[in-house]
Symmetry: C2
Subunit: 187 residues, 2 copies
DNA sequence: CGATTCTTTTTACATATGTTAAATAATCAC
DNA sequence: GTGATTATTTAACATATGTAAAAAGAATCG
């Protein structure tokens, strides 16, 4: 759990008591590549912290597998739109590279908010940061070409090419695999 | 301020004392069409509630005016990515239709969070809801055609066509005005 | 009202991306 | 290792969207 609390510290330091409370509602899991951490259709009742490996959130659009987002080690994985709305998610979480995770029971976590305002504040800040990232991602999808988006991606996470299949990168960028292949051939 | 507290209630009801505290850091403003509520380049230190009218958040990409989002009456207007990061925003807020607003001083609001956990919770929920909307918007930009996005938009806010110039709608949809015109001609 | 400006549409052409299918290349299971 | 499966690239063609310029239409202001 140390890595998790280290991660938390960057957002908002919490007391040992709060750490214990979070430990009590968390479990550690390992999961192999290509397994579904959470299947499509279920409500998201868990917030994951990725200690190691890669995960992606995906869904099907007209039968085609679309990657909504990737998460690498030391980040939070959750289907926010289900977590915050309580509705079942049309999205699943798949492990892309063998992963070690900490699973935090979301309902129990939300209950902790009353007793520990510091925990509420911590997660508020975590999701605010996620919100900022999302706004930037939106901007990139709204007015950058696919080629610009590809270049930005490998500039920001160069290792992604070694660790994630291109088909997933293509749909993440909002284009087909063929189109991504063409863009790559240009360079 | 009544309308504001009515709006709050749907997210999380707060005590009279909390309401007073918010009232004390808020001011009411009116602003005419085409005026800039907040110019590009400043840090966002204000959270607005739109009582009446329409606002848009916009920026320039390669010299072209791009609308990131529209807000209609009874919603919150804020450049979140600046508000949460503290960094100056490359985006501005423009009034699209004569507006009446309540301006909440963001720094003072954040200070209230310590004394009033209920206020922190309220705004946490407000921005969580905004986050959910953003995820859905992302999905629409990532894998719907421009035509689908246009149809979805007028289905969801039909009055937008009467109240917002098409040039702004075009950039909001991530396409040029010419392209939007073509899509409209089809129907 | 008439002139000016701003908005929207239209046209013609260029480019980017999608679709389908086939060919390679890489990976996996036995 | 070998065959089967999966991933990636390439080709050929169709379609959507971008760009630039002009025309038409609507709103604004003296």
């Amino acid at each position: 759990m140390d890595e998790l609390f280290q991660f938390f510290k960057a957002f908002y330091p919490i007391s040992p008591a709060a750490q214990e409370a979070i430990t009590a509602i968390s479990t550690e899991i390992s999961m192999a590549r290509n397994k579904d951490l959470q299947p499509i259709g279920h409500s998201c009742k868990t917030i994951y912290f990725l200690k190691k490996g890669i995960a992606r959130i995906y869904y099907y659009k007209d039968g085609i597998d679309v990657t909504e987002s990737f998460e690498f080690e030391h980040s939070i994985v959750a289907r926010v739109e289900s977590l915050f709305s309580g509705r079942p998610s049309r999205k699943g979480i798949q492990i892309v590279e063998d992963a070690e995770l900490i699973a935090i029971d979301a309902n129990k976590l939300f209950k902790l908010y009353d007793a520990f305002p510091e925990i509420e504040r911590l997660f508020r800040k975590i999701f605010e940061a996620a919100h900022v990232n999302l706004v930037n991602r939106l901007e990139s999808l709204q007015f950058h070409t696919a080629e610009e988006r590809y270049n930005d991606l490998i500039k920001e996470s160069p290792e992604i090419l070694q660790r994630v299949p291109l088909k997933h990168i293509a749909s993440y960028l909002g284009i087909t695999q063929v189109s991504l292949s063409r863009i790559r051939a240009k360079r």
